[in-house]
Subunit: 206 residues, 2 copies
């Protein structure tokens, strides 16, 4: 049980370090053997800890994996908000949105691969896929950029949910490539992804 607030510093330190270590072990395990094979035992072994260490800090295995997803996409979302805010023009904002995502993928390879794989593969007890529980809030920034660009005639007009899907799926190309080869060079690929996104949204020639 937690003690008084004054002593929470040290235990918070220990607890945070342990949680981070276990999160990292989960990420590395999913990367190496894949989500379906990432058992508690495998994760614990990689962390150099006992299985009970995981259940002590995380209520269930599911909670641990969802924490990975939350951690990864919260980080990305923050980077995107910051990057987009530096621009006014919709095309520049969209470019910043995509670039920050692809930069994160390039610099946090294990995280993005594990995050995407868990997000795609995990299903709740009811069998409902995890990504179905995604809220509209998650894509709010992208939708705002796209709809603003369409209103200004900078992007061609197409159903917003389609534009969102197209952009997101093109961005996921980078994590997919990393899934094949964690050491892949993403330079050219990321540049092409951005090029295709912007080109695909250009207004039609009249």
């Amino acid at each position: 049980m937690m003690v008084m607030a004054s002593s929470s510093d040290s235990e918070t330190f220990t607890e945070k370090a342990r949680r981070a270590q276990l999160l990292k072990a989960a990420i590395d395990t999913v990367n190496e053997i894949g989500y379906p094979n990432a058992s508690l035992s495998a994760i614990a072994k990689r962390a150099g800890a006992a299985k009970s260490a995981i259940t002590y800090y995380f209520a269930t295995k599911e909670a641990l994996l969802l924490q990975v997803v939350d951690h990864v996409f919260t980080d990305i979302g923050n980077l995107q908000v910051q990057a987009v805010a530096a621009h006014d023009e919709p095309r520049a904002r969209l470019r910043a949105y995509a670039q920050s995502y692809l930069d994160y993928a390039d610099t946090h390879r294990a995280e993005i691969v594990a995050g995407v794989e868990i997000l795609v593969s995990h299903r709740g007890a009811d069998g409902i896929p995890l990504y179905l529980t995604t809220t509209d809030e998650d894509s709010a920034l992208l939708r705002q950029i796209l709809s603003e660009g369409m209103q200004q005639g900078l992007f061609r007009t197409l159903p917003l949910h389609l534009a969102v899907s197209l952009v997101e799926s093109l961005l996921d190309l980078s994590p997919t490539e990393l899934q094949r080869d964690l050491n892949a060079d993403l330079t050219e690929l990321n540049a092409e992804i951005i090029r295709i996104i912007l080109r695909g949204l250009e207004p039609s020639i009249e």
Copy 2:
């Protein structure tokens, strides 16, 4: 044990029907509860058969799932070869290539979702992802279309493997949408996918 060839008709009939039934049960199970949860018991229950029926017709669970992948992508490949052969011009050939894939996705929803999910999620005993064992032969047709188009100046020049990845990932958008909602209307989406593919490969304006 198999008897002489003259009688192989009837037993081949029974065996083929059973195999098809089990393949369909595997596909439906992966669709409903996802690859990680698709156990032999779950597949057998859905087929209305005993577990042993599966191991009788398929050496292992893995063999059954690989058979699903093989069946789906062999079918698609045949459709694509046929569709592409009807055209000479690279852009028309690329359009036919994409259209036949998307048509298959639209008309064989459970198959494409299960095929893609198994292909992406399955790992061999050594932990090696299934799609890493993909041969160059699988994308030979697409690469031929793209390189021919580039030579003729109809597509802009970019590394072939990048162009292949971009096209394939855009085509996978349709199965991904079906994974979210098996009853989704793909009409608009599929049209946009083809539009983005062709637009993204247009030569740059000089």
